[in-house]
Amino acid sequence: IKTADNFKEKIENVMYMGSFDDDFFDELEETLILSDLGAHTSVKVTEALRTKIIETRSKSKEEVVGFLKEILIEMVAIETKEMQNPTIILVVGVNGVGKTTTIAKLSERYKKQGKKVIIAAADTFRAAAVEQLDEWAKRVGVDIIKSSTGADPSSVVYDAIGAAKARKADILICDTAGRLHNKVNLMNELQKISKTISREGGDFTIHNLIVLDATTGQNAINQAKVFHECVEISGIVLTKLDGTAKGGIAISIIDEMQIPIEYVGIGEKSEDLIDFDPKKFVDLLFE
């Protein structure tokens, strides 16, 4: 992953300034913003580092970089829960972030772990969304429950839960149509899907995943907040980290919302999904 030539260079430049004065902290703050951390979190990180430097009276660049990493790692290291059997995973997010592809990736991963996976094509809106997921189901080799375009997504999910129970599936993953979080009627529709899951889910643990695109800027924070209000998000998947985007926005989202990133998407193939590792994620910023 090429997260960050820029960040590294920038940090080196900042550190090169030698003395840890106001100019240094200003520069650092800018560097963090440059990585999409957002003004709010950047200020917070900078202030934490300032405190640490004052406490330790450190004058060593290496040490200060170490402090900075520690602060960032601590910020993003949130414990993720072990996946239960059986679980229903509802995948949500705005348009085009990578929901459907992520479902293919998750299916492959769980299938490899020996779990029985079923996927539900509850994006009945976008042109060829069902065909897209269907194609993935064939490639990965998992069952799919689908209906025609224009069908009620809640009813697809309802049918899928029935199938998951009948076939004793370990994991049911539901795709949903991309929707912008400021569209009230679409968010209501999502809530209805979520209610169907709570009502019909039975023994299934419910896990609501939001997919965020690493290329997105500050708007990802609004996305996370509003989707969370709608369906109570329990995990994040950060996609497209194979690009040059730094995914820095994730740091501020975790910081503000205390929801863990579980997986990271690093390509368009079904195997291009890795676990989120806070230390690696932060290290990559500095590599």
Partner: protein, 308 residues
């Protein structure tokens, strides 16, 4: 949003400045910091913000900002004017000529909205300018990408050229163009697969498609919610393809859309349309002045300034 009160902040700062009577460098710095933060929160690229605030600062000193009765508004007006100019000033229309074969090519990152936008443009120009459009499906990678374009075409009663089970986008492009020439389509729009600007093989494929079809418009489709990355994307696509314009999608969301300023500032190419929804009629001309207000988060202030 933290910066919704940008206008108020300006008023406060300027009220203080006014008491002092004269602007010094430090005052300008303070004001610039507010603008800087507002722009960064709107996802305007960092380097662009730096240069822009510098220019604004220089311009503001030379102006009669302080002697004005409303220096805050005067200053915001300068900022907004500058930004509008940068964003192109006037509406820039698509390059289309009646009676000739107009060849458009959609390019951009994964999921930006290329396929949807291709259909929207075909529909728009068919309805408004009476073109006879053909859509060509050159995305052989994404599952059901061809099907997606076919469904959109069917919905709009617009023809689609596609080849299933052929993994050669350049060949498909060539044959699509051939069909369009032979059957006298005067607008042919090529949908291409999404790709990262650092993916050399796939970027090279785009260059080859370009050489094959010789497009009159190469439209970089950019997600309006893009962050600091927009500049890297625009730079690289433009360097390799010399794009002719930009389309900003998903502007029906609540993004401030700073990518708009970042891109035009960096590559100097106009934004021609914005996508404002998933429906195939959700496309609008790009208005630089409205965009400037949106980036600055001051839509509500606008009418006020107009009166000033």
């Amino acid at each position: 949003m933290i910066f919704e009160g940008l206008n108020e902040k300006f008023q406060n700062i300027f009220a203080q400045l006014k008491r002092k009577g004269k602007l010094n460098e430090k005052d300008i710095q303070e004001v610039n910091r507010e603008i800087k933060m507002a722009l960064l929160e709107a996802d305007v690229n960092f380097k662009v913000v730096k240069q822009f605030t510098k220019n604004i600062g220089e311009r503001a000193i030379g102006q009669e900002v302080l002697s004005s009765l409303t220096p805050g508004q005067q200053f915001i007006k300068i900022v907004k004017d500058e930004m509008t100019t940068l964003l192109g000033g006037e509406i820039e229309r698509m390059d289309f000529v009646q009676g000739r074969q107009n060849v458009y090519m959609m390019v951009g990152l994964q999921g930006a909205g290329k396929t949807t936008t291709a259909a929207k443009i075909a529909n728009l120009l068919k309805k408004e300018k009476k073109f006879k459009p053909l859509l060509v499906a050159c995305d052989v990678y994404r599952p059901a990408a061809i099907k997606q374009l076919e469904i959109l075409g069917a919905e709009l009663k617009i023809d689609v050229y596609s080849e299933h089970d052929v993994k050669d986008p350049i060949g498909i492009a060539k044959r699509g163009l051939q069909k369009s020439t032979e059957e006298h389509y005067d607008l042919v729009i090529f949908d291409t697969a999404g790709r990262l600007q650092i993916d050399e093989a796939l970027m090279d494929e785009l260059v080859k498609i370009k050489e094959t079809i010789n497009p009159t418009e190469i439209l970089l489709t950019v997600d309006g919610m893009t962050g600091q990355e927009s500049v890297n994307v625009a730079n690289e696509f433009n360097r390799l393809l010399d794009i002719s314009g930009v389309i900003l999608t998903k502007m029906d969301g609540d993004t401030r859309g700073g990518a708009a300023l970042s891109i035009t500032y960096t590559i100097g190419k106009a934004i021609k349309y914005i996508g404002t929804g998933e429906k195939l009629t959700d496309i609008e001309l790009f208005y630089p002045d409205r965009m400037a207000s949106r980036i600055l988060g001051m839509g509500d202030v606008l009418s006020f300034i107009d009166k000033a």
